[in-house]
C-alpha cells in the first residue's frame, strides 16, 4: 500500500461539494492505516489450526519399489532379446583387455578431477 497520500489515491470528485467527504474519508483512511492491532495470540491460534503436515504412510516406499521392480521385470520379459543383448554387451565390455596406458590415463583423469574438485570446495572467496 502506498504511504504517499499524493500518489495512487482515488481522484477526488469533480464537483467541489464532495471535497469535505473526500477529506473525511482520507483522514479516516490515514487513521486506519496508522492503527496497529496487537497480535494477542492470533498467530499462535492460527498456526495450531493449520492442517497437519502431509506424512507418507510407512508402506508407501516399499510398495513403490516393488511396483518399479515388477514393471522392470515386465519390460525385461516383454523384450527378452533386448535384455540378453544388453547383458551380452556388458559381459563383452568387462572382458575387454585394458592396456597399462589406459589405466594410467584413467588415474590421471580421476586425480585431476579430484584435485580440481577439492580446490573448488576449499576455495576462499
Amino acid at each position: 500500500m502506498n504511504t504517499d497520500p499524493t500518489i495512487n489515491t482515488p481522484a477526488p470528485a469533480a464537483n467541489g461539494d464532495s471535497d469535505w467527504l473526500d477529506a473525511a474519508l482520507a483522514a479516516d483512511g490515514r487513521s486506519h492505516r496508522e492503527a496497529y492491532i496487537d497480535d494477542s495470540g492470533f498467530t499462535a491460534r492460527l498456526t495450531t489450526a493449520l492442517p497437519a503436515p502431509a506424512t507418507l504412510p510407512a508402506w508407501r516406499k516399499p510398495a513403490l519399489s516393488a511396483l518399479w521392480a515388477a514393471a522392470g521385470l515386465g519390460v525385461a520379459l516383454a523384450l527378452p532379446t533386448a535384455a540378453t543383448d544388453v547383458a551380452r554387451e556388458l559381459f563383452r565390455l568387462a572382458a575387454h583387455p585394458v592396456s597399462l596406458l589406459e589405466i594410467v590415463a584413467a588415474i590421471a583423469v580421476l586425480g585431476a578431477i579430484s584435485w580440481g574438485g577439492a580446490a573448488y570446495v576449499l576455495r576462499q572467496d
Binding site: N2, N8, A13, D17, L25, G29, T47, P51
Partner: protein
Amino acid sequence: MAPPGVADAELIARVVVHDDRHAFAELVRRYQSPIRATLRRMTAGNHALADDLAQETFLLAYRNLKSFRHEARFPTWLHRIATNAFLADARKRKEELLGDRDGDVADEDDDADGASDGAGEGHERAASLKLDLERAMATLSEAERAAIIQCYHNDLTHEEAAYVLNCPVGTVKTHVLRAKQKLKLRLAAWNPEPDAAA
C-alpha cells in the same frame, strides 16, 4: 524461526518448498494487523466475525500459497482472499444482516443529527465525524463498503482494488461513486456548504 528481516518472497518459498510453518507464522505476524483491521471495517466493527474471517483468510492463503504467482504483492493477494471471504460470508448472512440493518439505520439517523447539533470544532468534531462516518459506512452495500475500504482505507489504486475485489475497474469506480453519494446523503449535516450540494 524466520527473522523479521526476511523478504516475503523468501518466506513464501520456504512455506511452499519445505512446508515451513515458522515462515508462515512470520507472514501472519506481518499482515495480521492490516487484514484484521480491514475486516473489522468491512464487518462494521464486528471484531469476533472479523477475526474469524481473518483466520479463514490466512488458512486459505496457506492452502493456496502454491498458486500465488506474484502477479500482485502478497498483502494485496491476502486482501483479495479476505474480501472474498467477507463477501461470501455476507451473502450467507444476507437475510440476517438486512434485518439488523433496518434498526441500525434508524439509530444512525438519530446519531447523525445529534452530532451535527452538539459537536464543536477541532478534535471533538473530527471524532464525531469519524464515528458518524463509520456508522454511515455500515449502511452501504457490502460491495460498496469493500470498494471504499480498499480505495481509501487501504490506499489502493482503482486497478489494485479491482484485483482485490475481483471485478472490472469500471465497477470499482461505480461502487465508489455510489457509495460516496450515499455517504453524502447520510452525512449531509456535516457538509460545511450545504447550499453548494443542493
